[in-house]
Symmetry: C2
């Protein structure tokens, strides 16, 4: 069952369009160890992104979008790359991140409520308390 030359894969421009990242950022992520493996290359040396690459990038995007630092995404990628046996560590990393995001969201929500009150003041829907 030698799967020879299935799909050629996406060019970096296509991968950029698909992921919402810039080609610069895609190369940067790879350089910086955020990808699981170096991306495949065409004989020309051009990158060819697989569906698996895109799936991984989507996860990286989710982690980044929720504020995980690049270095921590790299740590996660390192764990996955290391293969089986560290699932507990991966889980711990994700759970810690999850918890931090929840705390941060609650903080933002609370601050936002205070800002809403100030908006109400400007709209004349409430009495100003002290400051402008």
């Amino acid at each position: 069952m030698t799967t020879v030359a299935t799909h050629p894969g996406l060019t970096i421009a296509e991968a950029a369009a698909a992921s919402g990242l810039s080609v610069h950022t895609l190369r940067y992520y790879e350089r910086d160890g955020l990808m699981l493996d170096p991306v495949d290359r065409a004989p020309s040396g051009h990158r060819r992104y697989t569906e698996g690459d895109l799936g991984w990038i989507a996860l990286v995007n989710r982690l980044r979008a929720t504020g995980m630092p690049v270095r921590e995404v790299r740590a996660y990628a390192d764990l996955v790359r290391a293969g089986d046996g560290n699932e507990a560590q991966r889980l711990e990393l994700l759970r810690a991140h999850h918890e931090r995001v929840l705390v941060e969201m609650e903080s933002v929500r609370a601050h936002l409520v205070a800002i809403e009150r100030k908006i109400d003041v400007y709209e004349g829907r409430a009495a100003s308390c002290v400051e402008p």
Copy 2:
């Protein structure tokens, strides 16, 4: 009714403790035009923060905590400093920020749900779909 030498005001260290910012950051904010006015000084030249200053800093903290860029906080401070007549602009700025924060929170929430699903996979509470 000449209010002579009421309270002396807080030192920068006290203001830092009260606001949660560092003394460096307090000076930086002032330098950068985020304060409504230059902070009062003792005869020694040392800063003396009033209750009003602290209230304003609290607002700045709320704006920053919800992700408003420093330059936009400055723009808001500029408006307030300019005095009456631009309430509509201030309101618009706050509302635009409010809207952005809501959109961002929703995005984070959605990404977080996807991450939760991945956590479930690691906990064996769900079947893995495709990627690690």
